[in-house]
């Protein structure tokens, strides 16, 4: 918001932040609705959860709830100023979603042991792998598209 006069023209960084915020919030929402509520793979709390895990998970999810709302209001702001760049926005959504998925999978699930991806299965590693790989794919796609949108807009 602050640098509307950045090198990439008006609203360039707002496009990025709006997308990243929305992406983070969207992934957290998917995590909550699909994995916690519908499939009930994730648990609210399991007794191996560390104190640090509870802290990081609480703050991360609080931020995500704020981010999905703030991201959409920033999107509305871009539209009313006619500075929306859809490619940059979408690529930033992927970056935000991928980063959240990766942070959630590696830091929260594995390092801090907030909860596992799924309980009562023989092998947890395919689930962990799937979780992390999804994050990496989203992130890499986001970065490639972001670089492309930069080049396209530079022409």
């Amino acid at each position: 918001m602050a640098d509307r006069h950045a090198s990439n023209g008006p609203g360039a960084s707002t496009n990025t932040w709006s997308g990243v915020f929305f992406g983070v919030g969207l992934m957290a929402l998917i995590d909550e609705i699909i994995f916690h509520q519908l499939l009930q793979w994730h648990h609210f709390y399991d007794h191996s959860t560390t104190q640090v895990g509870i802290f990081s998970d609480g703050l991360l999810n609080a931020f995500a709830l704020f981010a999905i709302v703030a991201g959409l209001f920033m999107f509305a702001d871009l539209r009313r100023r006619y500075t929306l760049r859809l490619r940059r926005f979408i690529s930033s959504v992927l970056i935000g979603a991928g980063s959240f998925q990766l942070a959630d999978g590696v830091v929260n699930h594995k390092l801090l042991r907030v909860h596992q991806v799924r309980y009562g299965v023989d092998d947890i590693w395919p689930y962990d792998l799937g979780w992390t790989v999804t994050g990496v794919i989203l992130l890499v796609c986001g970065i490639i598209l972001f670089a492309r949108s930069n080049r396209r807009e530079g022409e």
Partner: protein
């Protein structure tokens, strides 16, 4: 839990709450009527917010919900969400301070305005201070023996509930500026505090889930903790939307501004 509850008689507290509620429900329309004679008519929908807010707050201290709160931890937690989060949010939209300001005489209004600008009021309505009073108070209530102790004396029970309501109200007015606000803080600062407060609210509900207060049955403690977690999400989501909407309105570009920026850019 109800073992402890048997020793405390809540009748006097419920009677007091009833008197306060009836006066609150009566005084607001009277003030709106008096001030309506010299000022613009007070909007109808603000009455609705006042009545709803007062009734929601009262329901947690008297009547069936209050009795349920004495019996179960889940009931207690529903009461706390309503008293500390929902009722304040509803009441803020009835703009009680604005109404008071235009009802009382000019010298009295000057004194009130001086009070609102005083160091003390500025200090406690600072988002960080209000958040600590609000969330910090909850940590003391649930993470120490206070929760159990609270059910052994009526005055302590009343005091804790007054704190929950006032701290919740203070936090709400420190984050969203609906009513009269003497000192305004930036959106970024308020957003950061709101995220931290929500985060620590989530953390506390998981800590309660992991180890509920003494005398609370495990199942009841777990359900209560989840009510706190998800109920808190709903009210805080409303706060987030209001805060972001106020940012959106505040930063609206003026006519022609977009054009000028394009030239500069």
């Amino acid at each position: 839990m109800h073992v402890h509850m048997g020793t405390v008689d809540f009748t006097s507290l419920e009677a007091l709450v009833l008197i306060l509620v009836l006066s609150a429900l009566l005084l607001y329309p009277v003030a709106a009527f008096i001030s309506g004679r010299k000022h613009k008519k007070w909007p109808k929908f603000r009455y609705l917010f006042w009545f709803l807010g007062i009734i929601v707050a009262a329901a947690t201290l008297t009547g069936p919900l209050a009795h349920m709160a004495h019996e179960s931890f889940t009931g207690h937690m529903i009461g706390h969400l309503l008293l500390g989060m929902l009722a304040p949010l509803l009441l803020v939209f009835s703009k009680p301070v604005t109404l008071l300001m235009r009802t009382i005489s000019v010298p009295a209004a000057r004194n009130l305005s001086r009070l609102l600008k005083s160091r003390y009021v500025q200090f406690i309505t600072n988002p960080l201070v209000a958040a600590i009073l609000n969330i910090g108070g909850l940590y003391i209530l649930y993470m120490t023996g206070l929760f159990t102790l609270m059910h052994s004396a009526l005055w302590l029970y009343a005091l804790v509930h007054i704190h929950v309501f006032l701290a919740g109200y203070l936090f709400t007015i420190s984050i969203v500026y609906i009513d009269l606000t003497s000192r305004r803080h930036s959106f970024l600062y308020r957003a950061v505090i709101l995220v931290l407060a929500l985060g620590f609210h989530k953390i506390l509900s998981k800590l309660i889930y992991a180890s509920p207060p003494e005398d609370v049955i495990r199942q009841d403690g777990e359900t209560g903790a989840m009510v706190m977690y998800y109920g808190g999400d709903i009210v805080d989501l409303a706060l987030i939307i209001i805060l972001c909407y106020q940012w959106y309105r505040r930063t609206a570009p003026r006519e022609g501004k977009v054009m000028r920026e394009d030239v500069q850019g």
